[in-house]
Symmetry: C2
Subunit: 414 residues, 2 copies
């Protein structure tokens, strides 16, 4: 398919990141320049915005605000967790999408998200092909989990990793400040892949940080964990920092965090405390030391004030490359990153991969990068991750606080 003329539709999906809006800025900026693209739409809440015919006319936005999107965390258009059924089972949603695309002459579709979102994007692409509706479809990757198949890394990962490494360096200084000890248990995101939790190793690389790091790639044993912490405490005046992935599981594949499910707070209320709180309680009970559980929670994925400049720029480039590629006739593809180390210098190239390869395949941390009986990370990880977290890029300050993008959000066709 070449030289399609029509509108483009863009949507954001899944958990937001510090730089997903930078990809949006890349898509919008490039699409508004393309002669073949007659209108630029941003779907409200991803696929739901298409189904509900609620999307914004992005040409109405101030270019200065689109520029600020690069430094604004979370998904500015709103996100969704809506899962499309297989078209062979129920094609209601697909028919509706086709109807909306026809009505607005949408000939370019860009969807920005992780594994599930690439699955959605792939299904829509295949359906449109099957009914012979010409529309160039390109997926734009995004996930702090860094678990998308085929790409060297994912936009959003590096900024979250930088947040985690910086925060652990700071917490390390704070938690070890007294003459008496303190065990800190820090919980990072990542259900099945430990890329983010491993970022604790970047802090170690700077001489501070985690004594113990546990990824979901390796079965977690509570008794061994107590022994590990005990060992560090014995050597280091009861001072220990352990970083755990929210997704650690026992040898039977059961999430360790599930232990919390039966808990109550003594008032009959269900206890929502997370994994870190649970492990802290176990350490407190077994070792009788001061313990502090820390959950990095939403902050690790929305801490745009600590975004990596490299990540912000790559996220923008991925969005712009998706639009350029589609306008050159590419479709049914996802943008991926290739690492180019020519001359020993890190460079990131955007290339395309068939969409169906990305959908629903998770990439985990290589087991050979996990050391010290599952409590450490090798320097290979540092070599991998360090180029990705370089540079600062953040919103300008206004009154000492970040000035995030303010979109007008004018609905199209209304």
């Amino acid at each position: 398919m070449k030289n399609l003329v029509g509108a483009c539709m863009f949507g954001q999906s899944g958990g937001p990141t510090s730089v997903i809006n930078s990809s949006a800025a890349g898509v919008f900026t490039e699409a508004l320049k393309q002669g073949n693209i007659t209108a630029v739409y941003g779907a409200e809440h991803g696929i739901l915005g298409i189904l509900n015919e609620k999307f914004f006319d992005m040409s109405k936005e101030d270019p200065k605000e689109l520029e600020l999107l690069k430094y604004t965390p979370s998904s500015a258009l709103g996100s969704a967790r809506y899962k499309l059924k297989d078209a062979s089972v129920d094609d209601t949603d697909y028919k509706r999408i086709l109807e909306v695309f026809k009505k607005y002459n949408v000939r370019y579709f860009f969807y920005n998200g992780g594994n599930d979102s690439m699955d959605t994007c792939n299904k829509i692409s295949k359906y449109l092909q099957s009914v012979g509706y010409e529309c160039n479809v390109i997926g734009v990757p995004k996930t702090i989990d860094n678990d998308l198949f085929g790409t060297d890394h994912c936009p959003g990962f590096a900024s979250a990793a930088k947040y985690i490494a910086t925060t652990i360096m700071e917490v390390d200084l704070d938690a070890k400040v007294y003459d008496f000890g303190c065990v800190c248990i820090i919980e990072a995101m990542g259900r099945n892949a430990g890329w983010l939790t491993a970022a604790a190793k970047l802090a170690n690389h700077k001489g501070a940080g985690a004594d113990l790091i546990y990824l979901p790639e390796v079965p977690f044993d509570i008794d061994q964990f107590v022994e590990d912490v005990k060992g560090v405490c014995a050597k280091n005046n009861n001072k220990c920092i352990a970083v755990v992935s929210e997704g650690i599981k026992d040898k039977d594949g059961r999430y360790i965090s599930e232990g919390k499910a039966g808990a109550n707070d003594g008032f009959g209320h269900a206890q929502l405390g997370g994994l870190a709180a649970r492990l802290a309680a176990i350490i407190k009970e077994n070792l009788n030391v001061k313990v502090r559980p820390i959950e990095l929670s939403l902050m690790q994925r929305c801490g745009a004030h600590l975004a990596s400049k490299q990540d912000v720029e790559e996220a923008f480039a991925a969005g712009a490359f998706a639009v350029k590629s589609a306008c050159e006739g590419e479709t049914d593809k996802m943008v991926i990153f290739e690492r180019d180390m020519t001359g020993g210098q890190y460079k990131c190239n955007c290339v395309l991969m068939p969409l169906e390869l990305a959908a629903n395949t998770e990439k985990t941390v290589p087991l050979e990068w996990i050391t010290d009986n599952g409590t450490g990370i090798s320097d290979a990880y540092v070599d991998y991750a360090l180029p990705l977290i370089q540079g600062d890029a953040k919103a300008p300050l206004e009154d000492g606080l970040p000035r995030f993008a303010k979109l007008k959000k004018v609905y199209a066709g209304k």
Copy 2:
């Protein structure tokens, strides 16, 4: 007392902040320039370092590293929570301090901390006077809690406030990203004073942030809290951000967080989950909405990457002013800040106040600044706090991560 010639001793005490080391840099930089000061010592772990005769010769440090101290969080010399008995009850420690001061001819003593530390400083000052040992003693304020009597504000507060306001602005965007709702309950530090928790209002000032803010100055009622959240949820598609101080208490003065004490996690382990987790469980049970508890934990006091430039500079100035004042013969005083709004422009002046006025008196948020039946903060707080959080000041990046100070820590007299 004038023209004392001898060594100076400096110590850091209590919970660290993002800028307590900036005050240390101010003390060291100024002391190393003063002709009357023959040696500059930094006590390891505050008062304990004096008692144990463990302190560093700061003249051995690289000036570049002392400069980096300004951007390095936590207490670089180590902190302490050691409480001195009254000299009238037991003067053992005081005699030991006098012995060490005589041995090293310490004629200047600077102590950096909050309420308890100013009490320690005051007691030492009075004891040295009572035994006729000439030593000029000046307290340097520090606390993220901002609760020291007599000063317009405290070094450390503004950087923590800036961290909280920025983080809430980011979390606000993240938590409200879906088509479905989410109640976020964010816990900030402050046992008896709500200055820090009130920083949520600064995020509101920028059009984002907290729907409900609860300070320890006002009794907290759990049933009313549920009603408050319900009200916001009804108006706003189940989206609500509530910020609570760790120190909120019921009408009988019992900490709400104490409810957690009887808890266990269903495995027989004591549950360490904090206040936010407890309130989240209550909301979940009563309103059946998605709830996320977030504890800002140590990050709010050590997040130096988000420090306020104004705060960093004022903390440095407080340290330098303490030394200059002592060298001019002042003693038994604490440095305080006076706000100068001449010409409508904020300026901060260092002045001195008698030490005994500072010791153990807590300053809380004026009740008239607390609005909306104890769920809001007035604009008077914004006018008060906004000038304090201006500007960025952070450690230079090295490999994409902060380059904090590395001290040699050469023990004196060894």
